[in-house]
Amino acid sequence: MASDQIHKAIVFAGFGGQGIMFIGQLLAYAAMDHGYHVTWIPSYGPEMRGGTANCFVVVSSDPIGAPVAAYPDVALIFNRPSFDKFEPLVRDGGLLVVNSSLVEQQTAREALDVVRVPATKIASAVGSERLTNAVLLGAMLTVEPILPITAINAALQAHMPAHRRDALAANIDALERGSQHVRKQNPELLNSLSI
């Protein structure tokens, strides 16, 4: 299935409770269903309680050695402490997707692509702040199309646990809104996406 040569290390970082682990797993499921190699690793530790939470997802067309990276290709930043921690680490030429609803900081690094999305605000409009994670993933995949958003939707259908299924439509909606936001701001992406 997956014929494109890719290798991306993506970090999702925010507060515990922002759905960081879930959204990383969702990407991992979609990548697996798409035929890619993939690893997902949570940060686990005392920091779990109250503090920051992050997870690493590596998606690759080849078998994966290191499931973590010192310098990730992409960082999805959900809150300020995570910006401070990961903004300096994203590799040159990498992508920073920032939840501008909670993060005011701007990067001084010119070698980074930056996408700022008021994700929490958009999520509230869709129905719940808890969808912030889906908005950011939608935005990320629009700029860095590792997988089509339809693959994420399919993964939601296939793997969303029974007790959370009522949130399915809202998640799909949130992914799309995140994508739309980016496309509106970067019209040139519209064409590339419609191919």
């Binding site: 997902w40 290191a66 010192a70």
Partner: protein
């Protein structure tokens, strides 16, 4: 079967269930707990035994009891809890009964932390408890290998009537990867001819590790050593990657091994001929193959998540044929491919 996205700890638990696990005894400890939690739901569902013991001391001795009946049984823990199991491990090994124990290693010594480590290498390979023996030690480097080694562990344990330890670091335990589970096996209701089942219509049997006469004890020790020799001849396992033309050889197991694999790829992109040997069994150790490769490369670099423990075994195997350097991270820090690459480059400069 199709692949599922599975967490290492859960994958081991489910693989054990499918391999016909009859009884599990354990005590919560991070980063192993998902294994216990998975079985707390699965085993009762299947009418099998799950018991949360009051401590690891109790868990390993409950295991000793269950194993004495010839049942497939297992326990699991992480470093501080594994330390508490040392006594029982030694008794199980001394009784010549097959047992499987999982150690999901974390940062230490002491209470340490709950992050990934390979600090228990000495503890698992040197004897695991007091006395004079070695357990078989399997070191998976992926979720798939964790599954395969769980099934293998039961088979090896029963084939040799020997203790098998699955030693993984917290990273493999906590990581999710696509992997395929084995089909469900029936529970083996056959009981071997040493099992304690009640002496109905047959002579009595004893499970014991007590030999008061020195001669008797030595005879048992010799028998154990003979068995270990057969095991080391037949069950030494490792994986090689790009060793054919390698000038430098990386040696690493578990997470450190798979990260070293990434370092090999980076090195090759930079035109450096680096290869990897990843032991899958930490005991028996692939010493012979290492000795051979040592004759072919200009240097070895051992990579571990500790201060250098397998390093001793590599040095013994290489036996001075080439220089053996070390790169390790401790305290729960996972080494990065770039760091390993840096260590290779340094070795290259120092050893031209």
């Amino acid at each position: 079967m199709t692949k599922q996205l599975l967490k290492g700890n859960v994958a081991i638990a489910e693989a054990a269930v499918r391999a016909g696990l009859e009884a599990y005894f354990g005590y919560p400890i991070t980063p192993q707990t998902e294994l216990l939690e998975h079985l707390s739901a699965r085993m009762p569902e299947l009418g099998r035994v799950f018991l949360q013991a009051e401590s690891e001391v109790a868990a390993i001795n409950m295991l000793y009891g269950a194993l004495s009946t010839g049942a497939r049984a297992m326990t699991s823990s992480s470093s501080p809890g594994f330390s508490l199991m040392q006594e029982g491990l030694s008794y199980i090994a001394a009784s010549d009964i097959p047992g499987v124990v999982v150690d999901v290693m974390r940062g230490g010594p002491g209470l340490g932390n709950i992050l990934p480590s390979q600090g228990d290498y000495f503890q698992v390979t040197r004897s695991a408890g007091h006395g004079d023996y070695r357990p078989i030690v399997l070191a998976p480097a992926s979720v798939q290998e964790a599954i395969d080694f769980t099934v293998l562990a039961f088979d090896l344990a029963e084939q040799y009537r020997h203790l098998v330890i699955i030693a993984l670091d917290g990273l493999i335990g906590q990581m999710m990867e696509p992997a395929e589970l084995p089909p469900m096996r029936d529970i083996n209701t056959h009981r071997p001819d040493w099992a304690l089942t009640g002496a109905e219509g047959r002579p009595k049997r004893m499970i014991s590790s007590l030999y008061l006469q020195a001669e008797a004890q030595e005879a048992v020790n010799r028998r154990t050593q003979a068995r270990l020799k057969i095991i080391s001849e037949n069950e030494t396992r490792w994986i090689e990657y790009m060793t054919d033309d390698a000038d430098y050889l990386l040696v690493g197991y578990g997470s450190a091994g798979r990260i070293a694999y990434s370092a090999v790829q980076s090195a090759r992109r930079d035109g450096l001929k680096v290869g990897l040997l990843r032991p899958q069994t930490l005991w028996p150790f692939p010493s012979e193959r290492l000795h051979e490769l040592a004759g072919q490369v200009r240097g070895c670099l051992v990579v571990e998540m500790n201060a250098g423990q397998m390093l001793d075994d590599v040095r013994l195997a290489v036996n001075g044929r080439v220089a053996v350097d070390f790169f390790g991270r401790m305290g729960g820090i996972v080494p990065m491919p770039d760091e390993i690459l840096g260590a290779i480059q340094q070795m290259q400069h120092e050893r031209i």
